[in-house]
């Protein structure tokens, strides 16, 4: 299969403009004749649904939460990048583009990244117009801060709740279009399959989470904005409900899944406390602007009160190893360095399985320099959250942090138009693979979600509808009934097994997560990945034979919801390991221990300067060897020279 990116050629700064001009338009009077399905109401979904509705299309939107305002975009703390250069510190669209390509370790498509940097400017304007209360200077103009991996201050923020405020902005636009009758919102309703007729996505199958009803919804185009798959790991910073089912079901109907092994570890999370733990909590990495990361130099000091250790007994490992960037090193390197010092026995905090997994993030110097008031203004809510969870006061005692899985750069493969390999199936936000390569820079997820939703999908979906016309499939077509019936059968199998099984859904999910974290987490190596590939199918089979689910298929049943998501995580987790094994290089967050110099990635551009996109070959059976085929989209770099990343 040849993967065509459909990316325009010509000067990079003109590509998006030219492409927009070349796209077909739908006459305003005809827009109301088209139906578009939007699955997910986070930044990409809410912004996309509202924008499509404002253009005149009829939108049916779906979310599993009780309100679209609760999508997990809401939890992003630190900020959103925009190449405004309001600080006059040398930023530009080209620099944001350059930083993103380089930060992604040269595994993203240049054209897409350039477009992202271009529209980043419009996003800030749009958000302010919607009433997002960004931080301001005393003169009334917008404030910025710097963020991991960047040497300019281009990050806009709203205290430590930037994701919340951006989502509430997009949500308010969505609610306005719901009130206007252009969007029909379906809450507590989960997409569980996509309907594909003659290669074209013509609708979805959903399960109403309150009544248990499984039914079809048809449209002329389908957009997935369903987020990432970090919850494969069980313990992640994702919301508990985040899942990969929509993306995975699309994959099994013909959408290629790209770079599944590119998963990002966030360096600043609160360390795990015990086995009851249901998720990990992220502390914004903006904290690294003022906090200093260190561990004790001597093994004997790891259990001592950190405040009693003198400067010479503290190992500020990021500042020492990388003086130019210091504590603002990109996420992947900061994370692995934390793991290295803990593996060396210098970690702090509670011992779990014989290792202390925590490093200090210390604000004492910043408080001395700027005063407690200033630090409280910047990070107050984060400090309070830390204290609620750990019972320790970070104004007094250094925080303890450790990396946790946070974001997935991989996702459904899309072309420049954000369309997957299924005609008419578009994918936006974290659910697609397109812009971050092998590593995402801080404050770029919010940017990409809103770029796709406000400024890309409204154009490219319109072009598709103008070109393809309306879908002719109706509820009475055989493919609709068949897809619904297959979904019903899938749920019935889980219910049947669930009545006889002995182990809870969560217990399986925890075990799966441990395999993936151990072998396909911060570090990967061939024999570990092979071991995981041997073990995961066994555990999956055990799941399908012995999972225990109480309650019935009718009505609200959280265990059943979780079970079908975990069933998909099993298959996706296995694919992640296969992808990690096949990508025999290190790139960004994909760190193969075989390919490194002193802990830093060594890429193999000759063999792997490409996107790996997996095609599902099997039927409704588990992925055995050969059930997925690996395709390649070569990447070429015309504007950013391929170099080894160096932050020394």
């Amino acid at each position: 299969m040849e993967l065509r990116s459909n990316a325009p050629t010509g000067p990079i700064e003109k590509r998006w403009d030219q492409h927009r001009f070349d796209m077909k338009l739908v006459n305003p009077a005809n827009k109301r004749k088209f139906e578009v399905i939007m699955v997910g109401t986070g930044l990409a979904g809410a912004a996309g649904a509202a924008s499509l509705a404002d253009l005149g299309y009829n939108v049916k939107a779906f979310c599993y939460q009780d309100s679209p305002r609760r999508a997990h975009s809401i939890a992003a703390q630190g900020g959103i990048n925009g190449a405004k250069n309001y600080q006059g510190d040398g930023d530009s669209i080209h620099r944001l583009f350059y930083d993103t390509v380089k930060g992604g370790d040269f595994r993203a498509r240049e054209s897409n990244v350039y477009r992202l940097a271009q529209v980043s400017v419009d996003i800030i304007d749009q958000c302010v117009a919607l009433g997002v209360p960004f931080a301001r200077e005393y003169g009334g103009l917008l404030a910025n801060r710097s963020f991991g991996g960047a040497q300019v201050s281009r990050t806009f923020y709203a205290r430590g709740q930037t994701g919340q405020q951006l989502l509430l902005g997009a949500y308010s636009a969505l609610e306005r279009t719901i009130a206007g009758g252009k969007v029909k919102m379906n809450t507590r309703c989960e997409m569980v399959d996509v309907i594909v007729s003659e290669g074209r996505a013509v609708g979805i199958v959903t399960r109403d989470l309150v009544t248990g009803k499984i039914e079809s919804h048809l449209a002329d185009a389908v957009v997935l904005a369903t987020g990432g798959y970090g919850n494969v790991f069980y313990l992640s910073t994702n919301a508990k409900g985040c899942n990969a089912t929509a993306a995975w079901r699309a994959h099994k109907r013909g959408a290629l899944f790209a770079n599944p092994c590119f998963t990002q570890i966030h360096p600043t999370c609160i360390p795990q406390g015990g086995d009851y733990q249901s998720k990990l909590t992220l502390m914004s990495e903006s904290l690294r602007n003022d906090g200093r990361v260190w561990v004790p130099r001597k093994h004997d000091d790891v259990t001592k009160d950190p405040r009693t250790l003198s400067e010479k007994d503290r190992y500020y490992y990021l500042e020492e190893k990388y003086p130019a960037f210091g504590n603002l090193m990109p996420r992947d390197i900061a994370s692995r360095q934390a793991k290295f010092v803990c593996d060396e026995g210098l970690g702090v905090g509670p011992e779990i399985n014989g290792v202390r997994r925590g490093v200090y993030l210390d604000f004492a110097d910043a408080i001395k320099r700027d005063g407690k008031q200033t630090i409280a203004e910047k990070y107050g809510n984060l400090f309070e959250m830390y204290e609620r969870i750990t019972g320790e006061d970070p104004y007094q005692v250094p925080m303890r942090i450790y990396p946790a899985i946070h974001y997935t750069m991989g996702g459904l493969w899309v072309d420049y138009n954000l369309m997957s390999t299924i005609d008419g199936l578009f994918v936006g936000g974290e659910a697609n693979f397109s812009d971050h390569g092998a590593n995402r820079l801080g404050a770029s997820a919010l940017m990409q979600g809103l770029a796709d939703g406000y400024f890309v999908l409204p154009y490219t979906v319109g072009n598709y509808l103008a070109t393809k016309g309306k879908s002719k499939v109706t509820e009475s077509d055989a493919i609709v009934k068949q897809t619904v019936d297959e979904t019903k059968a899938r749920f019935q199998r889980l219910i049947d097994v669930g009545q006889k099984g002995h182990q809870t859904v969560d217990s399986f999910h925890r075990k799966l997560g441990t395999y993936i974290w151990d072998h396909c987490g911060m570090e990967r190596k061939a024999d570990g990945l092979k071991k995981a590939l041997a073990e995961i199918p066994k555990l999956r089979e055990e799941f399908h034979a012995d999972v225990k689910i109480t309650g019935s298929g009718e009505g609200l049943n959280r265990e059943l919801e979780k079970a079908q998501r975990v069933a998909d995580f099993f298959e996706l987790g296995e694919l992640m390991c296969r992808d990690a094994l096949e990508r025999d290089e290190s790139a960004g967050c994909h760190f193969r221990t075989e390919h490194q110099t002193n802990g830093e990635c060594v890429r193999d551009d000759e063999r792997y300067a490409h996107v790996a996109a997996w095609e599902w070959k099997g039927k409704d059976v588990a992925a055995r060897e050969g059930n997925q085929v690996r395709h390649v989209e070569p990447l070429s770099f015309e504007y950013v020279k391929l170099t080894q990343r160096s932050y020394k």
Binding site: R70, Q164, S172, E175, G391, T504
Partner: protein
């Protein structure tokens, strides 16, 4: 470092809006709970034990478990989100309870919040209040440069204080009148304080207050229980502000009668 406690647990079970509902005693399932677990992780442990006993898990809404999505929220011993100030249920940790403590867990109760199942309630009334006017109309692509409209820092900060609302509904559950005035006023104030929000300010106040009433939420009679229960400590001063806007709007706001003419 870890310490475990035993609790006397009573949980409200209700199989849908038409069921009467009752407290069940789950003391047998609430032993040996880590004090470092969050309240929802405590319910997870209880649920695991119920499932292995062949019983249906307790249904409760939750998602981010970081105190920001607003999904979670139960009444613990009579207090929405439990005993810790400025803390959502998911951020409440079991170190706040002593071993042997008695815990009664029930859903947010209000006529406008019908029970979906057990501890999960239907808060879609909040969405409809936002639909009535909780927005600034600005289509993608139509915005001026972000720095064209300076906003004094004090105004932006005040707006942000109001915008911090997570829409959890604790204010309604805490109010003797089951009023959603704090929720509604937070949105009215967030947008009404900003220069960008002036064009629709009067219409917004009228529409949102009107929808609040239609949903069956009660009126505010200044008990201030809402502010005490609010996990984001949204201030009741915004209710006064909303009332001022609403009063002014009633006296001055006239729905535009202008008709768009043809373009020639």
């Amino acid at each position: 470092m870890n310490e475990n406690i035993d609790l006397k647990l009573h949980v409200w079970r209700q199989n849908g809006p038409s069921d009467g509902g009752r407290f069940e005693d789950y003391t047998g399932y609430a032993k040996n709970i880590s004090t470092h677990a969050s309240f929802l992780e405590f319910l997870d442990v209880v649920n695991d034990r119920l499932i292995l006993d062949g019983k249906e898990a307790i249904a409760f809404d939750h998602d981010c478990r970081e105190g920001i999505c607003g999904s979670c929220g139960v009444v613990i011993n009579g207090q929405p989100h439990g005993p810790q100030r400025a803390t959502t249920t998911c951020q409440l940790h079991m170190r706040k309870f002593q071993t042997g403590a008695e815990i009664w867990v029930e859903p947010f109760r209000a006529r406008a919040f019908p029970v979906v199942k057990d501890l999960a309630v239907d808060r879609s009334g909040f969405d409809r209040i936002v639909q009535a006017g909780g927005f600034i109309t600005a289509r993608a692509g139509s915005a001026p440069d972000a720095n064209e409209i300076p906003v004094p820092k004090t105004v932006a900060d005040k707006s942000m204080d109001a915008a911090a609302c997570i829409g959890c509904g604790a204010c309604v559950a805490a109010c003797p009148n089951a009023s959603a005035s704090l929720f509604t006023s937070a949105k009215v104030a967030h947008l009404g304080l900003l220069p960008q929000g002036q064009a629709e300010r009067m219409k917004r106040a009228i529409s949102m207050v009107g929808q609040h009433e239609k949903e069956g939420f009660g009126a505010c009679s200044n008990h201030y229980e809402c502010e005490a229960a609010c996990p984001k400590q949204v201030s009741v001063e915004f209710i006064a502000r909303m009332n001022r806007d609403h009063l002014k709007a009633q006296l001055t706001y006239v729905e535009s009668a202008g008709k768009d003419g043809g373009a020639g």
